[in-house]
């Protein structure tokens, strides 16, 4: 029995053709459609990132007293939590009148960094990532981003954390 013209066939018959020649076309067309919708999904993902950036609020940092000026000796270390409980930070007294503080979380895989007094740098023991004690920049190893810095302000005898840079 001769087949009716394609325009007269129902859609299901076209999409589930018994003809091998037609089936090849359907398979390829559906793959192309699937890939194109995937491309649309990727674009939607990028748009979502942009929209998320628009609605992101700048974090508010509370002022918190984290240490007293004389309580550490030069080269001494103090751990504290800032800006939230559980956000571990490390403070180092690098000179008589100089204090620096950074997030203790390595920017590679979040291991805790520690201060190496001999080499005067912060070190991540997990993958040997090293950070400058002066500005938190990466000296060596797999991390690509510097350690977030805790900005300190001295008020009399007290060292006060006022914000993080860059804002996490």
């Amino acid at each position: 029995m001769p087949e009716p013209p394609r325009q007269c066939q129902p859609l299901w018959r076209e999409e589930f053709s018994v003809s091998k020649a037609d089936e090849r076309y359907v398979n390829r067309r559906q793959l192309a459609k699937f890939l194109t919708l995937g491309s649309l999904g990727m674009f939607a993902g990028n748009v979502w990132i942009v929209v998320r950036g628009w609605f992101r609020h700048a974090p508010q940092f509370a002022r918190a007293t984290v240490a007293r000026a004389g309580e550490m000796q030069v080269g001494g270390v103090k751990l504290f939590q800032y800006p939230n409980p559980g956000d571990q930070c490390i403070m180092v007294r690098t000179a008589e009148d100089q204090y620096v503080a950074y997030s203790q979380k390595c920017t590679h895989l979040s291991c805790a960094v520690y201060y190496s007094r001999e080499l005067d740098r912060l070190e991540c023991p997990c993958h040997q990532g090293f950070f400058s004690i002066h500005d938190g920049s990466v000296l060596q190893g797999p991390p690509t981003r510097p350690l977030p810095k805790v900005v300190l302000e001295r008020q009399g005898d007290e060292l006060i954390a006022i914000r993080m840079e860059p804002e996490a």
Binding site: S39, L40, M42, N46
Partner: protein
């Protein structure tokens, strides 16, 4: 329509395969771009988000254009 593949249909299939390969390449670029933008965004930098979205939109438009081409070839070859 014959149940056998005609030469013109065969050429149509080859063209569709080539276009599909192009779409795959564009999709891989888009996937890389999305993962890189997400990585930068999670690091707290938002500068790259808008240019990446524009580039991704252009690639997406290219994919739709190629898909429209596939449909045209498909219709043309199957009507033969």
């Amino acid at each position: 329509m014959s149940r056998f593949i005609k030469p013109l249909q065969n050429r149509g299939l080859t063209a569709i395969d080539a276009v599909t390969a192009l779409i795959v390449i564009l999709l891989i670029v888009q996937m890389w771009m999305l993962s890189a933008t997400l990585d930068i965004d999670l690091a707290g930098h938002t500068d790259a988000a808008v240019p990446a979205a524009i580039a991704s939109g252009l690639l997406c438009a290219c994919c739709f254009a190629l898909y429209a081409f596939v449909r045209r070839i498909d219709r043309h070859a199957r009507d033969e």
